[in-house]
């Protein structure tokens, strides 16, 4: 079983849902496809997508919504489809 940790490439603020009124991008157990957006990072008033590099099963977020993150910090974990 390979666990992929998706890390932030940038410093900024993490948003776990596309907008405040809607559910989070992913819940544990959800399928994830390669290139799918699993969070947004706000950097200097721009919202940039954080994408899953590989397909698999979503295990959970490692950060709280609206948390400040640094480059290299873990955003979420994905069990990669073999």
């Amino acid at each position: 079983m390979t666990i992929l940790t998706v890390e932030s490439a940038l410093p900024g603020v993490i948003f776990l849902s596309p907008s405040p009124e809607v559910p989070v991008f992913k819940r544990p157990g959800d399928a994830v496809s390669a290139g799918e957006t699993i969070a947004l990072i706000e950097v200097m008033k721009s919202f940039l997508p954080v994408e899953a590099e590989r397909p698999g099963t979503f295990l959970g977020y490692e950060v709280e919504n609206e948390a400040g993150v640094e480059p290299g910090e873990a955003i979420c974990r994905i069990e990669v489809t073999p």
């Binding site: 940038l10 410093p11 900024g12 907008s19 950097v43 200097m44 008033k45 940039l48 609206e66 400040g68």
Partner: protein
């Protein structure tokens, strides 16, 4: 004698950050006023915090929890014992409720009173005030629109294209252009939902869309009785409706138009007994040779230095003096224009990667010096541009006797200027300063994006 009233302020709290906080501290110092800088946890080490007499941490990095947190800023104001607050631009600078709360605490808000902010900061109200003062406005809706059918009927009568704007919007946000009835029908419900989400108010208004328009704005100063203008600035170079490069004066304007434009701004400000520094923004239609008022900013603006360079008047100092109760010591005849000034905004963005944000530490900063050169920076070597706020690092401002001389000086200053290792918009400005169309002055508010789209940046960098 009347100027002494401006010394009513003894201690000033700066409710902002970056380069404008530094600018406010410099002006306050010049007046012998003590300074208190509020900072978020991410900004503890910023230049303004080190320059101020005191610094107070008001909350976490995110703006909503610090610089936009009314309760936290008011608590700092109370704790600091400052008798006045300068809001700078952005953040809480045009929040009437905040201005009212500052005044209710018995402190001075450096800006117009809350009622004026409410009246002139709301685009629909400001437009009504302009019409009442006989100032031309862009053809558009008479008031706010809350019904899609009403929007459609009005657009059909005005003629397309039209712009849909959020009544409570600002800073270029919440604006879209539609070219026919079908686009409008699709866009109005979306725009209402977005305006509701972004500003808490779904009200919209419509305006005719003027093609090839130039953005020209008039700087005014008022003391509640007298209003003066300090001539105009041209800010047509914009990307995503954010200004990038600003000039004073607007060389495209015929002299009689300049006179009429500045007089209209004074008339409008006088109609609300304006107190403080403010800017009336206009569109200039070069084909029809007409100008139209679009909105007022009831605060200092990023690009105020170009006006200071050509008039020799320290706007920040005047603003603080007026807030302290002073009357203007100048008359309109004292305000003269001399030469041409250009400001370029140095942002932490990478022009080679479609202006991707580039926050990070500043290890190198080499600033040009000399006659007619000014740098207003928010950061110094060893400081870090955080990812949480806008990308403005600082501004380079140059002045020459004529526009061509100002452009030559700008080219030299840009060659000498070094900021690193983070990518900045310096290469963009170096390319722009050599562009024949821009040098020729043939621009509009759409020009920069079109220039970027046709590879202006890469073509010039390669050459």
């Amino acid at each position: 004698m009347s100027r002494d009233a401006g010394r009513g302020i003894g201690k000033l709290l700066i409710a902002n950050r970056g380069e404008i906080a530094v600018r406010i501290i410099r002006a306050a110092r010049g007046l012998g006023i003590r300074t208190v800088q509020v900072v978020s946890e991410a900004d503890r080490g910023m230049l303004a915090a080190r320059m101020a007499d005191e610094a107070i941490v008001i909350g976490p990095a995110q703006s909503a929890k610090s610089y936009l947190n009314v309760e936290a800023v008011l608590a700092a104001l109370r704790e600091s014992g400052a008798d006045a607050l300068h809001p700078g631009y952005g953040f809480l600078s045009e929040n009437a409720g905040f201005a009212r709360a500052v005044t209710a605490m018995g402190r001075t808000f450096v800006g117009p009173d809350a009622d004026t902010i409410e009246r002139m900061g709301d685009k629909v109200n400001a437009r009504a005030a302009a019409i009442a003062a006989g100032v031309p406005v862009v053809p558009g809706s008479a008031g706010r629109i809350d019904d899609p059918a009403e929007a459609l009927a009005l657009a059909a009568s005005m003629g397309f294209p039209v712009m849909i704007k959020a009544a409570a919007g600002g800073g270029g946000r919440g604006i879209r252009v539609v070219r026919d009835a079908a686009e409008l029908a699709a866009a109005v419900p979306q725009a209402m939902a977005e305006a509701k989400a972004a500003f808490g108010d779904g009200g919209l208004y419509l305006e005719a869309y003027i093609e090839n328009a130039r953005h020209i704005e008039v700087q005014i100063l008022g003391d509640g009785e007298t209003v003066l203008h300090l001539y105009e600035r041209e800010c047509s170079l914009q990307r995503r409706r954010q200004k990038v490069w600003e000039e004073a004066p607007a060389t495209a304007l015929p002299p009689e138009t300049r006179e009429a434009l500045c007089a209209s701004a004074v008339r409008l400000a006088q109609s609300v007994a304006y107190r403080g520094a403010g800017t009336m923004e206009y569109l200039w239609d070069p084909q029809r040779r007409e100008f139209f008022f679009i909105e007022m900013n009831t605060r200092i603006q990023v690009e105020h230095p170009v006006t200071e360079m050509i008039t020799g008047i320290d706007l920040m100092r005047e603003m603080i003096l007026i807030a302290g109760g002073a009357k203007l010591a100048l008359s309109q005849q004292d305000i003269r224009r001399d030469g041409h000034a250009i400001e370029v905004r140095i942002n932490a963005e990478d022009p080679a990667r479609n202006f991707f944000p580039s926050p990070g530490p500043v290890h190198e900063m080499c600033l040009p010096e000399g006659e007619g050169i000014r740098c207003d920076m928010g950061f110094d070597p060893g400081s870090t541009v955080p990812p949480y706020y806008d990308s403005l690092i600082g501004k380079l401002i140059v002045k020459g006797e004529t526009r061509p001389q100002a452009i030559l000086r700008l080219r030299e200053a840009l060659e000498a200027m070094r900021i690193g290792p983070l990518p900045t918009t310096l290469p963009l400005h170096r390319a722009l300063a050599h562009d024949p169309e821009l040098v020729g002055g043939e621009v509009s508010t759409q020009w920069l994006e079109a220039w970027l789209a046709r590879g202006g940046l890469t073509a010039d960098a390669a050459g």
